[in-house]
Amino acid sequence: MRSTEGKSSIVFLAVTSRIWQSSSALERWARATGARRPPPVLAGAAATVTVLMLLPVVYLLVRAAESGFTGLATVLQPRTLRVLGNSALLTAVVTLAAAVVAVPLAWLTVRTDLPARRLWSVLTALPLTIPSYVGAFALIAFFGPRGMLQEWLAPFGVQRLPEIYGFVGAAYALTLFTYPYLLLTVRAGLLRLDPALEEVARSLGESRRRVFWRVTLPSLRPAIAAGALLVALYVLSDFGAVSLLRFTSFTRAIYLSYQSSFDRSLAAWLSLLLVLFTILILIAEQHTQTQARYYRQGMGVSRRPQPIRLGRWRWPALAFCATVVGLALVAPVSVVLVWLVRGVRAGNTLHLAALERAALHTALAAGLAALTTVVAALPVAYLAVRYPGRLTGLAERAAYVGHGLPGIVVALSLVFFGANYATSLYQTLPMLVFAYGVLFLPQALGVLRSNLMQNSPRLEEAARSLGLRPIGAWWRVTLPLLRPGMLAGAALVFLTTAKELPATLLLAPTGFDTLATRIWSAATEGFFARAAAPSLILLIVSGLSLFLLLSQEESV
């Protein structure tokens, strides 16, 4: 055992030194092409961050490679194939179902005279803010055994309800809480669509219905594909909903094999397979992006087309919107509120002190994550914006790796790494914060990047020509201008971290329970009332983060 660990650490060192070399290769390349050379401190900081971001994936590879053929044999068994099938099926069904819900909703809220159209467009997007495990908890608390429906129906002699656990429950929950991704992209696509296209089709003798099928829908294909990708990635990486609803997709299988713990290389191999699956879907996205170029519409279309009159179709349309909002938003929130009231009535179940401690823990972990993430994102964003090149682009993309990685994979890799190489860090707050950093650095990076793009490099040059050294120019001009972006990025990371479940579950120090882990343990054990209060807090936090995200996008 010891010797294999030694071997793997050599592999790890080789990989990292390779990346270090490439950062000096960057400088050589920059000099050869006459591009400006980044200051060594900046390049070093950015390279360090990039290497750290890559650590979980690299270590997972090392770990899997180490187990070699025996590891491969354990993973190549019918059970794994079943997990693969489960994940593929769930992803496909949820994506399709989300499209069936989202496309009509988008069309209704953008192009028709639906009554209270603006209100509906806000309400239909709001389920985005419900963390999937909170949604799943609400579902179980309503439909599950000992749930509300069961209680109501018991007097009528109903002993058993149809099973909520398994595929149907998972697909239902994930569809309801992921369709807004598709809705938002399709809405944006519809708003960008040049009405002249449809008018030309009408003038060429096509009916309105045929125009929709022959012009509108094909033009929306890139938007639908982009939204479907978001949904598919979410489903694939979701841990909370599938685990609570006991559907063995990849993330749950990884968690289970990690918990059974006698063979952890299986968990590593499963994680790698999941990453591979994610990469396949990302490649598919690249494909749709190249296609999208053919469909791109003219910019700056300000003319809005005449809204389509729904006539008597107004009522079914309204009923459709109300049903979706009812199931995806009103029902879960009501269930949470009902259990909260029940808990308060029962008195002792609220566990106010424990709740307060969990909230404090959440705030502490999320606050540290926000701080470190923004500080780490700064050099990467700065390098990518001010010294663009092939290698800086590569570094930036590497820093985005956490964006596509399921939280459970990052967490698991760090558990292995911590247990083997950093025992003093294992199950400590710094390790947890590091995992958050890997997962959410891309969010901070995105905000900082767009902020930096808005500030012309001429500003720093002006400061230099007025007698300031580079560091002075940075301090007196760049940093003050970046402050709003840093605050927004930190807030975004804070709010996202507060909701995070799988990494928190695996990496939090013993006894360090957060709001998310409290919901998780209460829901798995069936203490619905205990999960209600933290759920409500997280719903509010979540709503805030959506608000922040939207206001950021508007300002860009």
Partner: protein, 367 residues
């Protein structure tokens, strides 16, 4: 056809002596064979010119010709591959020497002004005065008065008009009393009506401040009307340095002639101080031999209505109000553009007679 020659626009000095010798004074800026290579566009190749204290120079050329690169080399934002740059007689870039921008005492006005958006007018202008020996606030007021913006100290940049932002940028560059002011396409962000006025104002301000300045521009009218010296750059090479009048009437190369002003080129044979061409014998400003291309500016062609017998006819008339452009067909073979005052009214097909005013320029032609 009656082609007669009238001497006009005689140049004040013969070509090649546009730069006074270094004996008669101090140079504020000197570039010696400065080169900077780039992968795509904007390289500078062995750029040399120098500028006397208190003079304004324009780097004129089409986009991508390397003029902005040259400016950034002077400012210190780029490091030259080879060559030397001297500011106020001090070597700031050369073999083994590179003075960073903050120690060059060079003021820069950027195309997009680059006013610090988080600072008000006062703090923007005061930005470079941290080590100012005297009263910094008094200096700010002085410069703001010079640019005509007194009373706007507390405004934020976004509360100013384009012309005002431009003057704040100029004031900020002038405040630390730099040895040299660099202006990168300073008027291109202003609308056409404002541009002419601001241009004149900036010239007055710079002259009043006795500043030495280098402009970058692709607008020949701007270059010719604004500065004392014009350096014409094309594809990284300085083709000519001279007064606006020299650059216009004695372009050093055919490329400069084609870029600065409108031009007619016609083939001819040089015989020393005159050429033989389609228009007959024309005197030249310089000695030329063998196959040449003759440059004739449209406004140097005088057009008059003629009898039916003339071999020259009007092809097209474009009327601008203050003048008109007459397209001419010469014996069906040769097209010329002439620019005349609006007095005569011409019609397509009308026979005219033309004469060429003044000696012409001619450039060797690859046969």
């Amino acid at each position: 056809m009656n082609v007669s020659l009238v001497l006009a626009h005689l140049p004040s000095r013969p070509m090649g002596t546009s730069l006074p010798s270094s004996a008669d004074g101090e140079w504020s800026l000197e570039l010696r064979e400065v080169s900077k290579q780039f992968k795509d566009v904007g390289a500078a190749r062995r750029v040399s010119f120098r500028l006397r204290k208190g003079q304004l120079l324009a780097l004129l050329g089409p986009s991508g010709c390397g003029k902005t690169t040259t400016l950034r080399l002077i400012a210190g934002f780029e490091e030259p591959d080879t060559g030397e740059i001297l500011i106020g007689g001090r070597l700031v870039a050369g073999p083994g020497v590179f003075v960073p921008p903050e120690r060059r005492r060079v003021g820069m006005v950027f195309q997009e002004y680059a006013l610090f958006p988080h600072l008000n007018v006062l703090d923007n202008v005061r930005f470079g005065l941290r080590h100012y020996a005297g009263d910094a606030v008094k200096r700010v007021r002085e410069v703001l008065e010079l640019v005509g913006l007194s009373g706007l100290e507390k405004r934020m940049p976004h509360e100013l008009s384009g012309g005002q932002q431009q003057r704040v940028a100029l004031a900020r560059a002038l405040a630390p009393e730099p040895d040299l002011i660099l202006l990168d396409e300073p008027f291109s962000n202003l609308d056409a009506a404002l541009r002419v006025r601001v241009r004149a104002e900036v010239r007055t301000i710079l002259k009043e401040a006795e500043a030495t300045a280098v402009f970058v521009t692709h607008d020949q009218e701007e270059a010719l009307s604004l500065v004392d010296q014009v350096a014409v750059m094309m594809e990284g090479i300085v083709h000519q340095v001279g007064s606006p009048r020299e650059v216009y009437y004695q372009p050093a190369t055919r490329a400069v002639a084609a870029f600065v002003g409108d031009s007619n080129f016609l083939p001819g044979i040089g015989h020393g101080r005159w050429v033989e061409c389609e228009l007959g014998r024309l005197d030249t400003q310089v000695e030329v031999w063998g196959p040449v291309e003759v440059l004739i500016r449209p406004e140097n062609i005088d057009v008059r209505p003629a009898s039916q017998a003339s071999g020259c006819r009007v092809r097209q008339v474009t009327f601008f109000g203050h003048d008109q452009l007459i397209g001419l067909d010469l014996r069906q073979r040769l097209h010329l553009d002439a620019r005349t005052g609006p007095a005569y009214q011409f019609f397509p097909g009308q026979p005219v007679e033309i004469r060429i005013l003044g000696p012409v320029m001619a450039y060797p032609r690859a046969s």
